[in-house]
């Protein structure tokens, strides 16, 4: 497939994890990653076309191909698919906002809007004993239409299964966590969990698409209302 170069459309997302509101906690940092369907791939420009190694190569050159791929992965030529922010403290004004302004910049290519990328956020911070514990998980789809978008994501954490567990987890500093933060972007298996809401994270996206219309997907003109121009960092969800 790499040779023929199938028709794809591109979705470029940049923006930032602006700020958060966690009334109870302070000194938080944030991780983000993307979850996307099988037809999606984070992409970089021309280099991406050589990323795949033909599996049918001779047996003797096996190890070499592996190491080469490995290297490329470490260099991260696919954009920032995931990131971890600095620790921020609450602002001293009345808003008590936690401002990260942590940049997002990633480009996807895809053949199918199914499995549209979602950004998964997880926020961590120290508890009373100084252990790093999770303060919230949340996910939101990358906006469909090109333009500037602001999203406020409600955050939640899984609950302990019992009161005793709650106490011990608090005491031991090991709160219940998702095995993989990516489950918050999926529906499957969520029915076995109970969560509690924690706070909000505000995200800003600038979305650019290419060839969507060519492939027959019309995401429509962006809703320009209120999107252009510098918005206050602490705006409410649109």
């Amino acid at each position: 497939m790499a040779a023929a170069g199938p028709s794809v459309f591109l979705l470029m997302v940049n923006g930032q994890v602006e700020s958060a509101q966690f009334p109870e906690y302070d000194d938080l940092y944030c991780k983000y990653c993307f979850v996307y369907g099988q037809d999606w791939a984070p992409t970089a420009l021309p280099l991406a076309s050589v990323s795949r190694v033909d599996g049918g190569a001779g047996a003797e050159e096996g190890p070499w191909t592996v190491t080469r791929t490995e290297e490329r992965r470490q260099h991260g030529d696919k954009g920032l698919e995931e990131g971890i922010s600095q620790i921020t403290s609450k602002s001293q004004d009345v808003r008590r906002a936690l401002v990260w302004n942590f940049p997002i910049d990633v480009t996807f290519k895809s053949t199918n809007p199914y499995g549209w990328p979602q950004i998964v956020l997880s926020v961590y911070g120290p508890d009373v004993f100084g252990n790093d514990v999770v303060r919230g998980y949340g996910a939101v789809h990358v906006p469909f239409s090109p333009g500037r978008h602001k999203r406020t994501v409600p955050m939640f954490v899984p609950e302990s299964t019992s009161k005793l567990q709650k106490f011990t987890s608090w005491f031991m500093g090991r709160r219940p966590e998702y095995t993989d933060p990516k489950v918050v972007a999926q529906g499957e298996g969520r029915e076995v969990t109970r969560v509690r809401s924690q706070g909000f994270v505000t995200l800003l996206f600038n979305v650019v698409t290419k060839d969507m219309r060519k492939l027959g997907y019309d995401t429509g003109p962006p809703d320009t209302q209120g999107a252009s121009g510098p918005s206050p960092p602490q705006g409410l969800p649109p």
Binding site: M1, A4, P6, S7, V8, F9, Q38, D39, W40, A41, V53, G55, A59, E60, G62, P63, T65, V66, T67, T69, E70, S110, T111, N112, Y114, P158, S160, T161, S162, L164, Q165, T168, S169, M172, R174, P176, E177, Y178, T179, D180, V183, E188, G189, R190, E191, V192, T193, L215
Partner: protein, 1614 residues
């Protein structure tokens, strides 16, 4: 006289007012007479005494005699209900009687009496007619209203006769006391009593039935008291009576009688015949025979079957035929029996009320059915719409609307408490209202005026003064006018007549009322009618009257004249016709007479002769005038008579209570006690109720309340319930009044007060002046002209929509109303009445209804019929299709075929179905044209091949079938697994610390004190990685090769010709594990310091090859780590995919041989030219799945070394390692120590949490669970197995698999002398069955155990199947054998077989066929979890689990915990294994053919693997090898090496030869080629190399094939 009778007399006096004196007098006399008679008779025992014996007579006779005397009341007569209780007094009175005397007397009496009665009067069993309460119901139900009237009268005198009967009863109860011994009246007495006493009764007035009734009830009450204390009274009253001296002789009589009664008699006995006879007389036994139909029907009536006529007749309830016959016979003997029968001659019956089908869901009995039915279906949550349909739409601004209900009052037009006067008053008021209404309309006046106008019009038309109109039109107009005049006149006359009659009725009612008031001497109602006379001028009135009459007469005359004219016309025409006919007739007659005189008679046709018309009579004026005048007199006011105007006023005064009679006072009090309230019911829910208001004396209740209903639902019904409270007793629902829901235009303020009538069907009978309700009463003295009035009344109310604050009426939108209406329709699913529902095709339904001839009269079908009529009339459009998703069509942007043709769509579908080929397909192209056809090729091929057996890969068909079968089982299991994979547990999603127990807490506390940097760091577990976010190259297999032992060493070429002695190594010696040293002869051959072998290890995995450096010596130490990449199939790193990886890690050991290339000696000094050769020594094969599940493999493995390694020997250097020799010599072969793991560590897939169903006993399953949890608690790492899954997925208890099974006959015959040899042979046979791990085929699910016959049929299985088969063979050989579950290297958890020899235990590896002693250090089994025998399971609870350190004595409960013990004895489980195994002899020819094919294929493969070199085959060598292979098979690859070598050397003396035989079970071709490839024979690239390859297949029974492949390379020596 009996004191009781006295009392009765008093009572009778009370209610029989006038004319009973005589009767009472007679009554007084009667007992006396009777007693006197008795006195005389008693000693002689009169025949009537006997009656006392037989109570039936007692009952029967009085009635009969009674009826004789009083035939009038006979029909309504009620028989005595029960036997009067025996008065206790009689006993005390007769205490002194001698029992015997009495008995004797009785017996005599009985005899004589029986005779006499039989002779005198044979009582015909005449059924008494019982008035059953159901009779009334019958009336209503069958509509036989004809005899209603009769019944009513019956009822009436019933109430009279009832009291009478009551009286009789009581009298009879009282009477018998003194005279008759056991307390019953004698026949005579009864006779007298009834005849004398009640003669006058029929004359009793019917005027006071009520009073009598009351007395009757009173008497009943008194009676109850009387019955109880007769004794005391008796004593008390005796004095009175004595003093009265009236009844002296009675007393005397009593005394005498007392003595007389004491008679000694034998016990009563009646012969059976007598009794039967008597019973026959008394009892009526209806016949069981079928009654002929004609008897049941009136004479000359044919039975009529309604059903045959097509009318609906409901199904009759099922009654046995015999019962019906009995009933019919019984009814027929009764008097009006025929009315019980219907037209068809059957007993009338309502339709069977029982339902045809049970409303309770059927109880499921069969388990299999439950499964299907209990299957849970996912249904999307549906909003409950039943109520919300009527809800006002949410889009409306405000959901609450208001309905104002104004209830102003209530007027009863009839009430049970109405007195007669009230009834009249109500009637009067009603009439007056009518009158007023008529007056208001004044129709008569209007019509009169109209008439006048018309007449004038006629006059003007006729007026010649206006000639301008054409005569024609005038005439026409006049005619029209005239006809109209006629019409109007008739109407006017009718109206006037009505007015007049109404007036008359009013006056009549008023008069009645007045007379009633006068009669009852009080007034109840303030109603007063005043007739106002309006004087008229006599003269003008008379003139007008006369004029009117004249006008009418003239008009009538005119009319009549016209009529006459018309008639005359008709007459003339008819007359002409007649005359003509007459003439013709005459002419004819004449003719006829001349020609045929005899035919004369036939000529006149009687029918054709026209009658001579009669001319109409002219009208007589006088007659007309008379008629007119008559009519006028009837309908019109007479001239000069004053006009009467009635005026009803409430001005009259009501008589105060004091002046009223008692009954009236009671009535008024009753009225006062009553109060009324109303409930407002909105949509069947009570929303509010009015205050309770007392009922006024005028039967009006004023409420004046307004209820504001804030409503949310569309009003469906609005109802008022009228409740009446009487005193404090309780409330009764009088009636329900349905109010219409107002139009949306009616709002508060504009709503008129309306009167809604109601009526109730309650029946009330009151004991005062109130007339009651639903009961007949009459105003007439004679009771005629009866009226039945039901409680009725009017509620005046007003319902309107409220107006909101801003003036907007609070009315829900109109559209909602329609929905409500429709839903109401929908709720009554018409089709459900025929048992099905949800039918949608109405046309078909109508057709069906027409075809099946549904009876439209059947009430069951009514809704259906209506539905059909609606549907067929086209009122509602019903589409002839049903659409599940209504909006789907709008989204169908392309037709289905086109969509299915789309490759992209197909790809997407397949991917979402998780079809293996596409499960991880990435980036499905956006366009169809970019999808290549080959994408589907594999998948389609697989689909195609599913049923086609591919014989290319599998050389023999049997194995191909098996492979196919396995493939299918695998697929189904994997599908099940895929489904199960989508079920998540909390632990799958959330990482949570477990609640720490004390030990962990303590440990963690201890950790706090621990040193931060301990000197001896402990190994920490690696972090496990879930497989989902991995990609190619992330996973590596690490193989750490540490060392090897006992590598075969090269044989020096010098010893080429030496014949090794075989004597030192005997068969028995090896097996007996004797530590005798091997022959030391060879040691001399090795010069000291010479390199014996230079081995290195090559690891190949997924065609990736890594190798170690070369070490030296037979016990090399490498200690090297090799890293091999791992690539998952299709790039899918999910757990499932990894589990199904079937690749093996091959660890091959080679000897590196340096050959001097330079042959010339003179060149030797200048340089060294060596050629490196490598010789394969052996291999270890470890499946990846084992590594994956074990996470790490650490241990020493036996190297699989071919039995013959040319050029190598396994002689040990005894000089060096003598000290170890004793230990090592126990085992054969070479060993290698390895450590294998995967980096990063992968989380092994868990077995599916699926509980398989089982046919085991539930108790047993519980016990297994308990056993396992107990074991796991003690030793969590030891394997404990109680239940396994069989091939069909059912849980089976494991011991069922163990059962002695016969091994193949020929194996037993091979060496009958040595049981040990047989055992080995059997083990070898088992090991020749190919190995196929379950975990690979059923990835991550569980072990599936197939039974031994299945195993042999499939010819594939894993350790368990091998072990089970081997164990079963051993059991049949008579060994003590167990299945041993434990873990071994490299297999991990596995199954071995343990056998007990005479003194020691042997551990058998079923997959290799090798066996080990218990204390063998190189035994691959490292731990023992449990032992399984045919009848028990023993879990190892010893401290150690290594077989070296444990005791295998399962009888010791301290060491082995047994499953079945004394508390749970072995229940004797049947085996799942077959009775015996049947072995087919394998076809030798097929084996030979297979052998040739394999050889050919392998040769081709080797040539393929050497693409750059020429491959030469040495035929001579090949044939030599081929001869050698059967020898190897016979000796099982042992101890022939030296012979063989010698032979080879003899034949191929000038070749350097390296080669080895490979031996393996045959499953398919691929493992063979892999094995050959892994040896690397083909890698020799010496130019002049030659190859030899020979294949030998030895067939064993049941198609088990042992394959030998001999590969060799030959290099010609110069």
């Amino acid at each position: 006289m009996n004191p009781k009778e006295e009392k009765v007399k008093i009572i009778t006096e009370e209610f029989i007012e006038n004319d009973e004196d005589a009767g009472v007098g007679r009554q007084k006399k009667t007992p006396k007479v009777a007693r006197q008679k008795r006195k005389k008779r008693l000693p002689t025992t009169g025949p009537e005494e006997m009656v006392s014996e037989n109570p039936h007579f007692n009952q029967q006779e009085p009635v009969q005699e009674d009826s004789d005397t009083r035939p009038l009341s006979m029909t309504s007569r009620r028989g005595p209900r029960s036997l009067p209780p025996i008065p206790s007094a009689s006993r005390t009175g007769f205490a002194e009687f001698s029992m015997r005397e009495r008995m004797r007397e009785k017996l005599q009496a009985a005899r004589s009496k029986a005779e006499s009665t039989l002779l005198q009067e044979i009582p015909t069993p005449r059924p008494r007619r019982l008035q059953s309460p159901s009779e009334k119901e019958l009336e209503t139900e069958f509509g036989t209203e004809a005899d209603e009237e009769v019944q009513r009268t019956q009822k009436e005198d019933d109430s009279q006769s009832y009291s009478r009967v009551k009286f009789c009863d009581s009298v009879r109860k009282i009477k018998p006391k003194p005279p008759v011994p056991p307390g019953f009246p004698s026949a005579e007495e009864a006779y007298n009593f009834f005849t004398f006493n009640f003669d006058p009764e029929p004359e009793e007035s019917e005027e006071k039935p009520k009073a009598k009734n009351r007395d009757g009830t009173n008497q009943e009450e008194e009676e109850g008291e009387e019955e109880e204390p007769p004794v005391q009274e008796h004593k008390m009253d005796e004095e009175e009576l004595l003093s009265a001296k009236d009844d002296e002789d009675f007393l005397l009589g009593l005394d005498h009688a007392a003595e007389d009664f004491v008679v000694v008699r034998p016990a009563d006995y009646e012969s059976v015949h007598v009794r039967l006879q008597m019973e026959k007389e008394l009892l009526f036994v209806p016949s069981r025979l079928t009654v002929p139909t004609y008897k049941k029907l009136p004479e000359n009536v044919q039975p009529r079957f309604l059903e045959d006529e097509g009318l609906y007749a409901g199904a009759r309830p099922e009654v046995p035929r015999a019962c019906q016959n009995i009933m019919e016979n019984r009814l027929l003997t009764q008097e009006p029996g025929r009315k019980w029968f219907g037209d068809d001659g059957k007993i009338l019956a309502l339709p069977n009320p029982t339902k045809g089908f049970p409303s309770r869901p059927p109880v499921l009995t069969q388990e299999q059915d439950i499964k299907a039915e209990l299957e849970t279906l996912y249904k999307k949550a549906v909003k409950y719409v039943h109520r919300s349909q009527h809800m006002i739409g949410s889009g409306d601004p405000s959901g609450n609307f208001q309905l104002d209900i104004d209830i102003s009052g209530l007027i009863f037009t009839h009430h049970p408490c109405f007195s007669r006067e009230h009834v009249l008053a109500a009637k009067l008021a009603q009439l007056y209202d009518q009158h007023l209404a008529r007056q208001q309309r004044n129709k008569a006046k209007f019509l009169t005026d109209k008439l006048q106008a018309l007449r004038n019009a006629v006059q003007t038309e006729l007026n010649p003064a206006k000639p301008h109109k054409s005569l024609d039109t005038t005439q026409k107009a006049i005619n029209e006018y005239k006809s109209e005049i006629r019409q109007t006149r008739k109407l006017r006359d009718a109206e006037q007549e009505k007015d007049r009659t109404l007036l008359k009725t009013i006056i009549k009612v008023w008069k009645e009322m007045k007379s009633l008031r006068e009669f009852q001497r009080f007034t109840n109602t303030p109603l007063k009618l005043v007739l106002r006379k309006e004087k008229v001028d006599q003269k003008t009135d008379e003139e007008a009257y006369e004029a009117e009459i004249q006008a009418e007469i003239s008009e009538l005359l005119e009319e009549l004249m016209e009529e006459y004219e018309r008639k005359m016309e008709g007459y003339r025409a008819a007359y002409q016709q007649w005359k003509a006919w007459k003439k013709a007739q005459r002419a004819k007659k004449k003719k006829k007479k001349q020609e045929h005189p005899d035919e004369e008679m036939e000529e006149p046709y009687p029918g054709e002769e026209p009658v001579k018309p009669v001319p109409p009579e002219p009208t007589d004026r006088a007659l007309v005038e008379q008629q007119v005048r008559e009519r006028a007199a009837r309908s019109r006011r007479r001239p000069g008579e004053p006009t009467l105007v009635p005026e009803l006023s409430l001005a009259g005064s009501v008589t105060p209570n004091e002046q009223c009679p008692r009954a009236e006072v009671l009535r008024r009090e009753d009225v006062k006690r009553r109060s009324i309230y109303l409930k407002v019911i909105f949509n069947d829910k009570e929303v509010s109720r009015t205050d309770s208001r007392p009922l006024g004396a005028d039967f009006r209740v004023h409420f004046g309340q307004i209820f504001n209903l804030q409503i949310f639902n569309w009003p469906e019904s609005l109802m008022l319930q009228v409740y009446e409270t009487i005193g404090h007793s309780g409330t009764t629902l009088l009636a329900e009044v349905f109010l219409p829901i107002p139009e949306t235009t009616i709002v508060t303020g504009r709503a008129p007060i309306e009167e809604v009538e109601f009526s109730s069907n309650q029946h009330v009978t009151l004991d005062h002046e109130g007339v009651g309700s639903g009961v007949p009463f009459s105003f007439e003295a004679d009771g005629s002209n009866q009226l039945i009035l039901m409680t009725s009344g009017k509620v005046s109310n007003g319902v309107a929509w409220a107006i909101g604050e801003n003036g907007i009426p609070l009315i829900p939108p109109l559209s909602q109303q329609n929905i409500g209406f429709r839903s109401a329709l929908k709720r009554a699913d018409a089709i459900s009445s025929i048992g099905t529902s949800g039918l949608t095709d109405l046309k078909k339904l109508a057709k069906w209804a027409a075809e099946s001839k549904l009876d439209p009269n059947d009430p069951n079908n009514a809704p259906l019929m209506q539905l059909i009529s609606v549907a067929t009339s086209g009122e509602s459009y019903v589409p002839d299709f049903f659409r599940l998703e209504q909006l789907q069509q709008e989204f169908n942007f392309v037709s289905d075929e086109e969509l299915n043709r789309s490759k992209r769509f197909r790809l997407l579908c397949l991917r979402s179905q998780e079809v293996p080929e596409f499960r991880n397909y990435k980036q499905i192209p956006a366009y169809d044209r970019e999808i290549m056809e080959k994408v589907f090729q594999d998948y389609e091929k697989r689909l195609r091949d599913r049923n086609v057996i591919e014989t290319k890969d599998h050389i023999d068909t049997h194995r191909a079938i098996v492979a196919k079968y396995l493939q299918q089982v695998r697929e189904s299991v994997i599908n099940r697994f895929l489904i199960a994979k989508h079920h998540f547990l909390l632990s799958d999603l959330i990482v949570e610390e477990e609640v720490p127990n004390i030990s962990i807490l303590g440990l963690s506390l201890f950790k706090l004190a621990e040193q931060k940097r301990p000197l001896r760091p402990r190994r920490k577990g690696r972090k496990k990685v879930t497989a989902q976010n991995l990609s190619d190259g992330d996973i590596k297999v690490l193989v750490n090769i540490i060392r090897a032992y006992d590598i075969p060493v090269r044989k020096p070429t010098a010893s080429k010709f030496q014949q090794p002695s075989r004597s030192s190594r005997t068969f028995s010696e090896k097996r007996a594990a004797s530590p005798t040293a091997h022959s030391p002869t060879h040691s001399a051959d090795y010069p000291l310091g010479q390199v014996l072998v230079r081995p290195f290890v090559e690891v190949s995995f997924q065609r990736t090859i890594c190798h170690t450096t070369t070490a030296e010596g037979p016990n090399p130490s490498w200690n090297e780590e090799l890293e091999l990449p791992f690539r998952a199939p299709n790039g899918d790193y999910s757990t499932t995919s990894l589990q199904s990886v079937r690749d093996d890690v091959f660890i091959n050991i080679f000897d590196e041989v340096l050959n001097d290339v330079l042959e010339d000696d003179h060149e030797r000094g200048r340089g060294i030219h060596t050629h490196i050769e490598r010789h394969w020594l052996g291999s270890v094969k470890i499946p990846f799945s084992t590594i994956y599940f074990q996470a790490k493999i650490d241990g020493t493995f036996k190297i699989d070394i071919p039995p013959v390694l040319l050029g190598y020997s396994k002689e040990r250097n005894l000089m060096i390692e003598r000290s170890f020799d004793s230990v090592r010599s126990l085992s054969e072969g070479s060993y290698i120590t390895l450590f294998i793991t995967i980096e990063p560590q992968l989380v092994p897939g868990e077995s599916v949490r699926e509980k398989f169903d089982s046919q085991e006993d539930e108790k047993l399953l519980q016990a297994t669970e308990k056993f396992q949890t107990e074991c796991a608690l003690k030793f969590p790492h030891r394997q404990c197995l109680t239940t396994v899954t069989d091939i069909s997925g059912k849980t089976v208890f494991v011991t069922r698999y163990l059962k002695p099974l016969n091994p193949p006959r020929e194996l037993l015959d091979a060496c009958p002398s040595s049981p040990q040899a047989t055992a080995e042979l059997v083990a070898r046979y088992v090991s020749l069955i190919p190995f196929l791990p379950d975990t690979v085929s059923f990835a991550g699910i569980c072990d599936m155990w197939s039974t031994s016959d299945q195993f042999l049929d499939l010819l594939a299985g894993d350790e368990e199947e091998h072990a089970v088969l081997l164990c079963n063979y051993f059991l049949s050989l008579g060994k003590k054998a167990w299945l041993m579950m434990g873990s071994a290297i490299p297999e991990g958890p596995t199954a071995y077989v343990l056998t007990r020899e005479q003194s020691h235990y042997l551990i058998w590896n079923p997959c290799t066929g090798h066996f080990y002693g218990q204390f063998d250090t190189f035994c691959p089994l490292k731990s023992v979890g449990c032992l399984i025998g045919p009848d028990n399971i023993w879990f190892n609870i010893q401290r150690y689990d290594s077989p070296l350190r444990i005791n295998f004595d399962v009888t010791k409960p301290k060491l082995w915990k047994s499953f079945f013990s004394r508390s749970l004895p072995y229940p004797g489980l049947s085996s799942v294994q077959p009775e015996e195994l049947i072995y087919q002899r394998t076809d030798k020819a097929a084996a030979a053919e297979l052998q040739d094919r394999i050889e050919k294929i392998l040769k081709e493969k080797i040539m393929d693997w050497r693409p750059r070199h020429l491959t030469r085959w040495n035929r001579y060598c090949t044939s030599a090898l081929r001869h050698f292979l059967p020898v190897l098979e016979r000796s099982q690859g042992e101890d022939i090496e030296d012979d063989h070598r010698a032979e080879l050397l003899k034949q191929l003396g000038d070749y350097r030869f390296s080669g080895f035989p490979l031996h393996m079970p045959y499953s398919e071709l691929k493992p063979l080629t892999e094995a050959v490839y892994s040896t690397g024979v083909h890698n020799i690239d010496v130019p002049n190399v030659e190859f030899a390859l020979a294949v030998y297949i030895h067939p064993y029974p049941k198609n088990v094939l042992s394959v030998w492949i001999y590969v060799a390379s030959l290099i010609r020596n110069r």
